[in-house]
């Protein structure tokens, strides 16, 4: 087996991996950095996101997914970062050996000074939801359909019902409509969307596509190809279908946009602690995991709404990985950060004591609140406070703390809220 040595090995060449690799190289230009990507091209899922709306925060302009990716890919080209394409990582060991395989190089091991995990996420499937009915052709996750349409130029269906109002589902509702398909309904089991508000407006409202909250799919009909889908209203408290509210929609396709799950099989197998809420690693503010020298960023850590936030997070992780690989890691004590009172999770879940400057804490709420005030406490002391007109589970929130004020465990919770 071919064995190579790199100071920093980045697993995944999507937006997180690219930004992390560049950031590591910029922080310590003398280090050797490798990006390992399983697809034949860099850019990850951005390559199939041909709609615009990327980069408003990070670049201050509106780009398409491939354009956003290309900004990073162009920089990678001249950076001295080595890229391994069409290469799948099979194993990460606690000693930071990355075992990978490719048709070109066969088996290869990379012994890394630091590792950045940037494998992204996968879509929740029909099976995970126990949707009753037949199992015909024509049931796709929204991202799979997006790849078929945008990468392969193929139409997965002509008459489409979408379950779930996640961003990819909303984007695909518009995309399929533009390609001549009829989107008969978007059904969302929750009383609110998990997608961005701008996507609801631009993708559904502007195209006259109906969206029903508190509705779910209760049956799939059709032996060979989907012929119809039954949708029922759910009780908002139990989220169980209400008998008698069933409506059957004729369609040939059911798209699922019902959530994303970080892909942490390598992470778990390496023995790294996983947060049961995010399904990603537990990290500190540098995005270091419970395994020293292994960092995580992007959707493998927690599912983001905006790629801009992924790039920011990956920049932090890449810089920290470079510092670790060159022996500069500060190893002060860490304190726990915990979401309470309506805050489902925080990233990071741990912070170091005795830092200078500011630390951003990202979090998600478990319900829609208008208005809401997020409060960070260290013991009984309030160290940061942020009030917003609305907070919803679909939008990741951020609160900035003064790192010097961290002298113990932190909580992030909502106070003075109005659940709506």
């Amino acid at each position: 087996m071919l064995v190579k040595k790199y100071d920093v090995a980045v697993i995944g060449g999507g937006p997180a991996g690219l930004a992390a690799a560049l950031s590591a190289k910029e922080r310590e230009p003398g280090l050797t950095v490798a990006v390992i990507e399983r697809d034949k091209a860099l850019g990850g899922i951005l390559q199939q996101c041909i709609h615009n709306g990327f980069g408003l925060h990070y670049f201050g302009e509106e780009l398409t997914g491939p354009e956003y990716a290309n900004r990073f890919i162009e920089r990678i080209k001249g950076s001295g970062v080595d890229v391994y394409l069409d290469t799948m990582v099979l194993e990460l060991t606690p000693e930071r050996r990355v075992v990978c395989v490719s048709a070109a190089n066969g088996l290869m091991a990379i012994d890394a000074g630091a590792v950045v995990l940037a494998m992204g996420c996968r879509e929740r499937t029909r099976g995970a939801l126990n949707i009753p009915g037949t199992r015909p052709a024509g049931v796709y996750t929204a991202g799979c359909a997006q790849r078929l349409v945008n990468m392969e130029g193929l139409m997965p269906g002509k008459k489409v019902l979408i379950l779930g109002s996640g961003d990819i589902g909303l984007i695909m509702a518009r995309r399929l409509t533009w390609e001549g398909a009829k989107v008969v309904l978007v059904a969302e089991i929750m009383p609110y969307s998990s997608g961005l508000n701008r996507n609801i407006v631009q993708c559904l409202v502007d195209n006259g596509i109906p969206l029903k909250f508190n509705h779910t799919v209760t049956n799939i009909i059709g032996k060979e190809r989907v012929e119809a889908v039954t949708v029922a209203e759910v009780d908002p408290r139990t989220r169980l279908p209400i008998t008698g509210t069933e409506q059957t929609y004729e369609c040939d396709t059911l798209l699922l946009s019902v959530g994303l799950l970080p892909e942490n099989e390598l992470t778990s197998a390496a023995g790294i602690d996983i947060d049961p809420v995010t399904n990603g690693a537990v990290v500190d503010e540098t995005r270091q995991t419970s395994l020293a020298g292994v960092f995580a960023c992007g959707n493998v850590l927690h599912v983001h709404d905006l790629v801009d936030n992924v790039s920011d997070e990956a920049t932090l992780a890449g810089r920290a990985a470079a510092e670790y690989a060159s022996g500069q890691a500060s190893r002060q004590q860490t304190y726990a950060v915990k979401g309470v009172n309506g805050v489902r999770y925080t990233v990071p879940q741990r912070v170091h004591a005795g830092l200078d400057g500011k630390t951003d804490i990202y979090f998600r709420v478990g319900n829609a609140y208008r208005p809401a005030t997020a409060v960070v406490r260290c013991g009984d002391t309030v160290i940061a406070k942020r009030r917003k007109q609305i907070m919803t589970p679909g939008e990741m929130e951020k609160i900035t703390i003064d790192a010097a004020l961290v002298t113990g465990d932190l909580t992030v919770g909502l106070e003075e809220v109005n659940p709506s």
Partner: protein, 481 residues
């Protein structure tokens, strides 16, 4: 014999028909394996409990009892010869009260009468020592050490491939539309096409009564009985053995079992249905699986479900397997009503049917060049690093991972297509590509590309499992430049 004349036509390419084809292929006979579906293992053989039963359930003296016990004896050898996974993990039937204890005692005695080896009645604590995840409320259990797990569709595919290697022809996607007597033979019509066979074996599963009636034998009917299952992700297994509840009139009850691929499942439900093709999953079924499996194994993590599915079993009106020469037509050999324990029994049924074919008048001379073994498609994920490196050296396509959840390579998919996979599900059952936690969300488009390339078929013609199960409705609208 002309191109369209055969000694034996086997109708039905499920595990029964394919095992018969394999057993028959050791003799110098011209045989053909026919199925309406576009692949083998498309009925009950693709969706069942995958158990090689010990044989204590069957009524002593029944054909089922004989086939089960003999099938269990043969199964491991068949799996070894055919490279099919097999794990003799044993089974427990658990009881919660005095009534159950009595049933377990009856089962034990039936087992003795049927000649089942390695049985033992256990106390609740003894059962929990064997299977720590069992409910604390279990008071008694029947252990059967000869019970095993296997992979039913791999077994079916392996038998079909081995039969083909030994000269049996496949005619898939060919629904038998009529059987008529002609010149001392039987004409088997499949729509426009037809062939002549001296003997016909009816292994048509839930449709066996319809096939039988085509030759005037209406001595039995087959009613479909549906069983629903929930399959759990690999990292969430909590049982080492097959855990049954005490049986009822409707069957062996809902069990919790490991699979040979490291997953775990709960199932089946047991519902008599009207439509022989109804493999839909229902909310009631899932609710029942949830309740019953938690009764056996309270710690089962049903949130780790990755898919649910249903299979349809062929329940015979006679209450026993129907294996014999038809009284209405001496050239028709019945292998019908093969409900549970049909998978277990398949090698024994194959032996029996071949004996019956000989008895019916076909002389069987052993074939000199018969090869009893079949090699599995190389499984990259199960090889050592050295073996993996060697495999890639031989064919670099084994270095390209297509299905990331199950670590299935392009080399495996290409080999599956070479061996007969024509659909996305055909590739899935032969390689496991798409069987993992993402259920093909990532790899399906790539599997489609490989199918399209290898078969020389446009993407828009590819299907999930044949027939009208087209995956795409067309290409993007064309724009004039």
């Amino acid at each position: 014999m002309s191109v369209n004349e055969y000694d034996v036509a086997i109708i039905g390419a499920g595990v029964t028909g394919c095992a018969i084809a394999r057993q028959l292929s050791q003799y110098s006979v011209r045989a053909v394996l026919i199925d309406a579906a576009e692949d083998v293992a498309m009925g009950a053989s693709r969706a069942n409990s995958a158990i090689v039963h010990a044989g204590y359930d069957c009524k002593p003296g029944s054909c089922e009892a004989r086939m089960n016990v003999r099938g269990n004896e043969l199964f491991e050898t068949w799996c070894r010869d055919l490279s099919v996974p097999f794990n003799r993990c044993g089974s427990l039937v658990i009881g919660f009260d005095d009534d159950d204890a009595k049933t377990l005692q009856d089962l034990y005695e039936r087992g003795l009468a049927n000649g089942v080896p390695e049985m033992k009645l256990l106390s609740g604590d003894e059962a929990r020592a064997v299977e720590p995840s069992l409910s604390p409320l279990v008071t008694k259990a029947l252990w059967a050490g000869s019970a095993a797990i296997t992979c039913p569709y791999q077994m079916t595919i392996a038998c079909a491939e081995n039969a083909r290697d030994n000269g049996v022809e496949w005619r898939l996607g060919a629904r038998v539309t009529s059987l008529t007597r002609e010149d001392g033979c039987i004409r088997v019509a499949m729509g426009e096409k037809s062939l002549l066979a001296r003997y016909v074996v009816n292994a048509a599963g839930v449709y066996a009564d319809e096939i039988s009636r085509m030759l005037g034998d209406d001595s039995f009917t087959i009613s479909p009985r549906k069983g629903e299952y929930m399959l759990m992700d690999r990292k969430n297994t909590c049982v080492r053995t097959v855990v049954f509840q005490t049986p009822t009139k409707m069957g062996k009850g809902i069990l919790v079992s490991p699979t040979v691929d490291g997953n775990m499942f709960a199932g089946p439900t047991s519902v008599d249905i009207a439509d022989k093709g109804d493999t839909s999953v229902t909310a009631e079924g899932i609710a029942q699986l949830t309740e019953k499996s938690k009764k056996s194994v309270p710690g089962i993590n049903l949130r780790a479900v990755i898919t649910s599915f249903a299979g349809v079993r062929a329940q015979p009106s006679t209450g026993d397997f129907i294996i014999g020469i038809s009284k209405a037509e001496p050239r028709l050999i019945q292998a019908a009503g093969i409900c549970s324990p049909g998978l277990t029994s398949s090698p024994a049924i194959a032996e029996e049917i071949v004996r019956l074919i000989e008895k019916a008048g076909l002389s069987l001379a052993p074939k000199a060049d018969y090869c009893p073994t079949r090699k599995a498609i190389p499984e990259f994920r199960h090889l050592s690093r050295e073996e993996q490196a060697e495999l890639i050296e031989r064919d670099p396509r084994f270095g390209r991972v297509i299905c990331r959840c199950e670590t299935i390579t392009e080399g495996e998919i290409v080999e599956a297509i070479r061996r007969g996979a024509r659909t996305v599900d055909g590739v899935k059952r032969r390689t496991r590509a798409g069987m993992g936690r993402c259920q093909g969300g990532f790899c399906m488009p790539r599997v489609m590309e490989i199918l399209s390339r290898e078969l020389g078929a446009p993407m828009t013609e590819l299907t999930k499992f044949g027939g009208g199960s087209r995956l795409l409705t067309g290409i993007l609208k064309e724009v004039d430049d």
